[in-house]
């Protein structure tokens, strides 16, 4: 996540759009940019977790059985991030909804909002996955993907968290694989690893292969979502090519 911050600080107008998908070595709490670290005291299961502060806004996330993504968009004339935040959220989240629906999940974009502008930020739940913002991805009552942004004169950074399975640190928050599919028919499934993940819903943790499979799905879905906003010739790159 520090790499994302470094990329935003150094981004130049001639850089490509950068997509990153990553996991964390150990369960870690990331706070939204303006959140108070003291607020985690009210959540006993979160007190002992290592924590970081994101440059992006929103609520706290437990990075455990999830994938974190970042999208960096340099500021330039064809900037697909210009203006409201919502179109970029919608483009990426809609791509995830399409993908998940094709795999049998009844995913949809949230229309509700827990945010309060009249009473201040303290009325919002501490955890991102307990909040609801327009275009969050939900399945029934469960939020399984949320995103947040930071804008600067040089570019825009969007972070997101794709919750795959409930964490022991937040046992009340279901991940994608803890939710039921709308249909038991798997004929739309093209990837064996997804079928495996679904059939082993009682497992507490995802295997390396499963995680890697979800990583690949997240990357291809992010590319599809971004391609709705701007034409991009994607290629695998190295961070050392940029900074």
């Amino acid at each position: 996540m520090a790499i994302d911050e470094a990329l935003l600080q150094n981004v130049e107008s001639d850089w490509p759009i950068v997509i990153r998908v990553y996991r964390w070595e150990r369960p870690t709490l990331s706070l939204g940019h303006f959140q108070r670290i003291d607020d985690r005291i009210e959540h006993p299961l979160l007190r002992e977790l290592p924590w970081v502060r994101r440059k992006t806004g929103g609520g706290a996330i437990v990075h455990d059985q999830e994938l974190t993504y970042s999208v960096l968009i340099p500021t330039r004339d064809d900037n697909p991030a210009k203006g409201h935040s919502e179109p970029l959220y919608r483009a990426i989240h809609s791509a995830f909804v399409e993908k998940l629906r094709s795999l049998g999940w009844n995913a949809e974009l949230s229309e509700s909002c827990t945010c309060s502008t009249s009473e201040g930020r303290n009325t919002d739940p501490f955890l991102c996955f307990l909040r609801r913002s327009p275009v969050d991805i939900i399945i029934g009552d469960d939020k399984i993907l949320g995103s947040a942004q930071r804008r600067s004169a040089r570019g825009l950074l969007q972070h997101g968290s794709f919750l795959l399975r409930r964490s022991q640190c937040t046992p009340g928050l279901n991940g994608l694989l803890d939710t039921k599919k709308k249909s038991t028919s798997l004929k739309n499934l093209r990837d064996d690893w997804i079928a495996d993940a679904s059939n082993h819903a009682a497992c507490d943790t995802l295997s390396e292969d499963e995680m890697n499979g979800w990583c690949e799905l997240a990357i291809s879905t992010l590319k599809a979502g971004m391609s709705k906003r701007v034409e991009v010739n994607w290629k695998n790159g190295r961070l050392s090519d940029l900074i």
Binding site: G32, H33, F34, K55, T56, G57, G58, G83, H84, S85, E86, C113, C115, S116, T117, S118, G120, R121, D124, S133, P134, G146, S147, A148, Q149, R150, R151, S152, A153
Partner: protein, 130 residues
């Protein structure tokens, strides 16, 4: 007297500056109605401290809308002499009246000629329409 947007000078990044009395060298700074609309629902604002120096084009604070954090850039250089601390707890003021009750900081300018580099209302309006 009410400040109207035609009387202000603007940055490309949507902050405005207004000098009520040139002899004081103090500029009042805020963000435009266009910026407030683009940001949508504002939930948090971080302001500088009185006495802090700011530079033209440099960040003086941050504002968080619903899950997007954006910096605010100073139109002029100088020293912060006043901050609108009550605004932080009543950000909806920016939606209602961004040019009067929604002022954010006041800066004692170190170089008032920097105002000449800012956009006038007509130019700023054109930029926003693109």
């Amino acid at each position: 007297m009410s400040i109207t947007p035609e009387k202000l000078k603007y940055c490309n990044s949507h902050e405005w500056a207004y000098v009520a009395d040139v002899s004081t060298g103090i500029a009042t700074i805020g963000i435009s109605a266009f910026a407030v609309e683009e940001l949508t629902d504002l939930v948090f604002m971080a302001l500088p401290k009185v006495g802090q120096t700011v530079t033209a084009g440099g960040e003086f604070g941050e504002v968080e809308s619903v899950k997007a954090v954006s910096p605010m850039y100073s139109p002029v250089s100088g020293t912060v002499v006043d901050i609108h601390s009550a605004l932080v707890d009543k950000l909806e003021t920016l939606t209602v009246d961004p040019y009067n009750e929604g002022w954010i900081i006041k800066v004692k300018m170190s170089d008032p000629t920097e105002l000449d580099r800012l956009l006038d209302w007509e130019t700023y309006k054109k930029q926003c329409s693109h």
